[in-house]
């Protein structure tokens, strides 16, 4: 599990390089500087900021959904998605992500609590605010007997605020943006899963939006398709559009997200910037040495906790110790240090720590 996580991590770094994750990785110093500003600012900006471009794009408070069977799908949820953010909405399957998204879009009525999209209450003002919101909910769904273009025309015709005279041009522009223009006349039935997924994203691009909500946009896609969708999301967000993208895989979205919310069995167990998530994990020091016994003794003497030794590597929780001091103490103690590293905590491990592992999470 963790090896798979680091594997995608490395691949992602090579593939994207300059993007969000790279910038966030900078160092502890910028982490400390950015933490209070963006991190704690995000929920704090909610009540204080005016409902303009500066206000949060999505706020829910006490949002709860109990289905008729008595199942509590979403429990007292307090989302705060800052304007302009790419918000990764994470959680294992069945943790309540889709139910939450359906409530955000007015498809499901909350049992308790409130939703505010772009400063407007939902479902109360859904007719007013939803034209400014593009969405993909729980996979693509279209008329199989219609072409891709006819499907988009159908969706556009349902929008009473859309201008019919520009419909043809807007539809072709949306198809072009997701790379489906050449397949516009093909029936939806004949589309591949990736094409279907992209057509669903195209419905969100039929007109300029301020907020895009994508529920599992990479679900069922091959790595190539996943990369395409990721690039598309990044491109959408460059215009200052707020994006909420849900996934059950952190690795799929961590390269593009500025913020994450993590759900587990209907509850939000973490919300904040990626750096804040990282800072939750305790950093470890890893020493490569031929004398693990002596190294362990030195680390114990330094008061480090959770010391593990295996395969010529000794590791321990770094806590507030400086790596320089540890290195010096080791050398002074006569331990040959072949290498010393303080790796960044693995986000995947943190994520799994938050959501639980395996089958125990499906409540």
């Amino acid at each position: 599990m963790s090896t798979a996580g680091t594997g995608t991590d490395a691949g992602a770094g090579a593939d994207a390089g300059a993007s969000g994750a790279g910038a966030g990785a900078d160092a502890g110093a910028s982490e400390a500087g950015a933490g209070p500003e963006t991190g704690t600012g995000a929920p704090g900006a909610g009540p204080s900021g005016p409902p303009g471009p500066a206000g949060p794009a999505i706020i829910t408070s006490g949002l709860t959904k109990r289905f008729r069977g008595g199942q509590l799908a979403v429990d007292d949820l307090g989302l705060a998605v800052p304007h302009g953010a790419i918000y990764g909405f994470l959680g294992p399957n069945g943790s309540g992500k889709t139910t939450t998204i359906r409530m955000l879009l007015g498809l499901i009525y909350p049992t308790r609590g409130s939703v505010s999209l772009l400063g407007e209450p939902v479902p109360g003002a859904a007719a007013r605010v939803l034209p400014r919101v593009g969405s993909l909910v729980e996979g693509p769904a279209f008329y199989p007997f219609l072409s891709g273009r006819a499907n988009l025309a159908r969706m556009d015709a349902a929008d009473r605020t859309a201008d019919p005279r520009t419909a043809a041009a807007r539809i072709d522009a949306a198809l072009d943006r997701v790379g489906l223009l050449s397949a516009a006349k093909k029936r939806y039935r004949a589309y591949s899963l990736g094409m279907k997924q992209r057509l669903a994203i195209a419905t969100g691009l039929l007109r300029p939006r301020e907020l895009i909500i994508l529920d599992e946009p990479t679900n069922g896609l091959d790595p190539q398709g996943t990369r395409e969708v990721r690039g598309l999301i990044r491109e959408i967000a460059t215009d200052g559009v707020t994006v909420l993208v849900s996934s059950h895989l952190l690795a799929e979205v961590e390269q593009i997200c500025t913020h994450v919310g993590v759900m587990r069995t209907g509850r939000l167990v973490f919300q904040g910037t990626l750096d804040e998530l990282r800072s939750r994990g305790s950093r470890r020091v890893v020493i490569r040495t031929a004398q693990p016994g002596e190294a362990t003794a030195t680390l114990t003497a330094l008061g480090l906790a959770d010391i593990r030794s295996a395969d010529g590597e000794v590791s321990a929780q770094l806590a507030d110790q400086s790596p320089e001091r540890i290195c010096r103490e080791l050398v002074l103690a006569g331990v040959g240090v072949a290498g010393l590293d303080t790796p960044r905590p693995n986000l995947e491990d943190l994520f799994v720590g938050l959501t639980g592992e395996g089958f125990d999470v499906d409540g």
Binding site: L105, A127, P131, V137, D159, R160, T161, P164
Partner: protein, 302 residues
């Protein structure tokens, strides 16, 4: 954009949800666009077109069968009040025969398919959630769906009548129409009565369509909704033929369907017709309300 807005001073009425988007006079109103899209969906669906083809083919087959069975020539209409005996003298009567036979099952089938599929079909495909997040508006979408059902029902009746008249004209003599009450009216007036019959039957189908629409909001399985509508129609027709249920007969949805024959008498029995239309209207009101109440309050989880 700015020039377009300059010419578009008057439309203050359409400030609703899309306030920021000024509407110019030439633009198609949103509701008409949705209705057009809805109609396109219904009338381009191969299954629905096949139903209409069936509705057109049956009167042709019926005409041929009756032509082969009927004695040639045949004089006036003194043979009784049955349509079939009239047919030999006038092809127009094929329309009444066809309607009478097809209103029992085939016309309700066509309406059941389209109305049962209306909401349940969208839910089953999942397109419902996309339409609602567009947002189409729940009540607005429902209104467009019902309008399309009514148009389809009317089209179905028109197809039957048109096919019958065409077949009747080819296979039988056409001329002044002898009514069921024995008197004869000119062909023009006879055709006008055919038109009224068509509209009356279309109203009956609109009532059945409202029932179908309501049922359709309760499920995401279109086949289940279609079957339920059809079963309801058939049960109603059977109950209508059991004398012991006479008390409830006037309240059955199908009870007034065949009363279109009042239009074929002189004077026209308007009280029966009005009773029928009133019954259809009440069914439409009740079941559209049920559909609205259900559809605007339910969670869309499909």
């Amino acid at each position: 954009m700015s020039t377009a807005e300059a010419t578009a001073v008057p439309p203050a009425g359409r400030t609703g949800p899309g306030g920021q988007l000024a509407r110019t006079p030439g633009a198609v109103p949103g509701w008409l666009r949705l209705l057009r899209s809805e109609l396109r969906l219904v009338f381009r669906r191969l299954r629905n077109l096949a139903l209409l083809a069936l509705l057109a083919a049956l009167p042709v087959l019926l005409g041929i069968a009756l032509r082969l069975a009927a004695p040639r020539g045949g004089g006036g209409g003194d043979a009784g009040s049955s349509f079939i005996s009239q047919l030999a003298g006038n092809g127009v009567f094929l329309a009444f025969i066809a309607i009478t036979l097809m209103i029992a099952l085939v016309l309700p089938l066509a309406v059941a398919v389209v109305s049962g599929d209306s909401v349940a079909g969208e839910a089953g495909l999942g397109t419902l959630r996309y339409l609602l997040t567009v947002p189409a508006g729940r009540a607005r979408l429902l209104a467009a769906k019902y309008a399309a059902i009514v148009v389809f029902g009317l089209s179905a009746c028109c197809v039957v009548v048109a096919a019958s008249l065409a077949t009747g004209a080819v296979l039988f003599p056409i001329g002044p129409v002898t009514l069921l009450s024995g008197n004869t009216v000119p062909l023009g007036q006879g055709l006008l009565r055919v038109l009224f019959v068509t509209l009356y039957v279309a109203a009956a189908m609109a009532a059945l369509g409202a029932i179908g629409l309501a049922i359709s909001t309760f499920t995401e399985h279109p086949i289940g909704a279609i079957a339920t509508v059809l079963v309801l129609a058939v049960v109603s027709e059977i109950a209508d033929n059991i004398p012991q249920f006479a008390v409830v007969h006037p309240y059955l949805p199908s009870h007034w369907w065949l009363f279109f024959d009042s239009l074929l008498r002189t004077p026209i029995a308007t009280s029966d017709l009005l009773h029928g239309l009133l019954s259809f209207g009440i069914y439409v009101a009740i079941f559209c309300s049920i559909a609205w109440a259900r559809f605007t309050s339910t969670d869309v989880t499909a």
